[in-house]
């Protein structure tokens, strides 16, 4: 028995060693890199190629040059549409933040059971198709819809809601709110709550505690949530085209119109590139601000 063990052990060790060495430097490594191939092929073929095509079209359609970007910058309509797009995305971001902040805070101080419920309710919209929700808003906001019935009943009178920027903002806020609540909650859950009574005991008023302790500590969540909502809001297409009016269109709708309606590939592509550049720039600035907190939007709309 003892001889067996003596003979066996070194052999096993060397085998194990050889295997480790091989897996660390040789075969396994090469083999593992191959795992990335299908994903990279898909991304290059169906993401890189289309995006590259948009860039080339913006600079070459109908002839090479920057005339498409000149058209973009010099047309008053385009400036107005861009302004409206940024304004709406910004407004939606602010409303989402104002509503989500107390909601997320409540999630950090309530019981486990309530927290689970609050999480489910905020996630639920994500599980319903954006088209279904937009259709519902169309019903609610229409001129003879229930909201207008209610407004008339309480004496405000009927208001134009559908085909206005207000209607678009309402629909967008509801769709984008989960993207604000979730990062806010995860930032707030990390805050050491012992700091708050500590600040109070040193004589700070509740308002001062909030402003100088809690708010700065929740900043990563504010930055991450606001960025996600803002950049998703910039690219919205379905809601503005169904709840908005053609006369108050947003950039995504205009891009579709240039290509689908007027076959102006260069114009549409240039506008798309402008939208993309603003999105990436916003994201870059926000990543700096958030210092390490990851900003990755969820399901894209």
């Amino acid at each position: 028995m003892s001889i067996d063990t003596n003979l066996d052990t070194p052999q096993q060790e060397s085998n194990a060693q050889r295997r480790t060495v091989r897996s660390r430097f040789g075969k396994l490594r090469n083999w593992t890199v191959l795992l990335l191939v299908p994903g990279i092929v898909l991304i290059i073929g169906f993401f890189g190629l289309p995006l590259g095509d948009v860039i080339i079209r913006s600079l070459s359609d109908p002839v090479w040059g920057i005339q498409n970007f000149q058209w973009l910058a010099l047309s008053e309509t385009n400036i107005a549409v861009a302004g409206r797009t940024f304004g709406t995305a910004f407004l939606v971001t602010v409303i989402c933040l104002l509503l989500s902040y107390p909601y997320a805070y409540l999630m950090t101080i309530c019981s486990e059971r309530t927290r689970r419920l609050l999480t489910i309710f905020v996630m639920m919209p994500l599980w319903t198709s954006i088209l279904v929700r937009t259709l519902a808003w169309m019903v609610l906001l229409q001129d003879s819809g229930p909201i207008n019935d209610l407004l008339e009943y309480i004496g405000v009178g009927r208001l134009p809601l559908i085909r206005t920027t207000l209607g678009v903002a309402l629909g967008m806020t509801q769709v984008l709110m989960p993207f604000m609540v979730l990062p806010l909650y995860s930032a707030m859950a990390k805050i050491d709550t012992r700091l708050l009574p500590a600040a109070r005991s040193l004589g700070a008023t509740p308002m001062t505690v909030f402003r100088t302790v809690y708010l700065p500590l929740s900043k990563p969540g504010i930055v991450a949530g606001s960025t996600t909502v803002f950049i998703l809001g910039l690219g919205f297409y379905i809601i503005p085209s169904l709840l908005g009016s053609p006369r108050e269109s947003m950039m995504a709708t205009l891009i579709q119109q240039q290509i689908g309606g007027f076959l102006q590939w260069g114009h549409g592509a240039a506008m798309g590139i402008a939208l993309l550049v603003v999105t990436v720039a916003t994201l870059t600035v926000a990543t700096r601000l958030a210092k390490g907190a990851s900003i990755v939007p969820g399901v894209q709309r």
Partner: protein, 260 residues
């Protein structure tokens, strides 16, 4: 404690605002009149009957499910492979590849849509099953990778080393050790992939042809062209499918917890 009460009331309003508006679609779908009037005056099932007897609606439901299943399959396999690959290797430029994988989440849908339209136009891929699956997979892939990567991060790498040192080839280690441990991440990723494809509108609008349309495209077309309440019935059916999917995941995750 007064603050908590105020917050509670506010939260109730937010919850109502998040959930109630969508529900108006349910009574509309049972409306007997051909309109979107709310509240409806009489109830009928005619819009559901319309949906289930109209070959065009049924075909688009079939296409949607087919595309979603294929997308889930392709995105899950390539996504798990990619997440595994990223977790094992370290090389210069790795972060570039990671960002490349996540980029489809950041690029505005409309920009990707016009690019795909252009490419698909050139290669005759408009309105093809292959085109739909490829387009949807690009959107679903980041979600699979994110979910699987999160699971892999929570896993003890010593378990894989132990398996390898006991002589298991990498394939055996993957199926016997790694996959069972990251199963929650994989199934969450697969589910996100399915829902992403099932609900996707913008890309589908650009790459569809009248011969091959997904359900969301058909809903969009119907909403923009006429006021046929059949879309309300379709919307309720889509909502029901989503709810069944969530309940299924809740059920599975709860069973897993109970077992461990």
């Amino acid at each position: 404690m007064k603050l908590k009460a105020i917050l509670g009331v506010l939260a109730v309003f937010i919850v109502l605002w998040l959930t109630l508006p969508t529900l108006v679609i349910i009574p509309i779908s049972f409306n007997s009149a051909p309109s979107f009037d709310f509240p409806p005056k009489d109830f009928s099932l005619r819009w559901y009957e319309n949906f289930f007897t109209d070959p065009a609606w049924l075909r688009s439901l079939g296409v949607t499910v087919q595309v979603a299943l294929l997308t889930t399959f392709v995105a899950t396999i390539s996504g798990v492979a990619a997440a595994l690959g990223l977790s094992k290797v370290n090389f210069r430029g790795k972060s570039i590849i990671e960002n490349l994988f996540l980029a489809p989440l950041i690029v505005p849908g409309i920009v990707l849509a016009i690019g795909m339209y252009s490419i698909f136009l050139r290669f005759g891929m408009l309105g093809t099953l292959f085109g739909f699956v490829a387009a949807h997979t690009v959107l679903a892939l980041p979600l699979v990778i994110m979910n699987v990567a999160a699971s892999l991060q929570g896993m003890d790498p010593k378990l894989q080393h132990a398996s390898a040192s006991l002589g298991a080839p990498p394939i055996t280690t993957f199926f016997r050790v790694t996959l069972p441990l990251i199963a929650p991440g994989v199934s969450a990723g697969a589910l996100f992939a399915f829902v992403t494809s099932f609900d996707e509108v913008i890309l589908s609008l650009f790459i569809q042809t009248p011969a091959l349309q997904t359900l969301p495209v058909k809903i969009y077309r119907s909403v923009t062209q006429d006021t046929d309440p059949t879309v309300a019935a379709v919307a309720v059916i889509m909502m029901t499918i989503s709810i069944i999917l969530i309940l299924a995941t809740q059920f599975f995750s709860r069973r897993k917890k109970a077992r461990s």
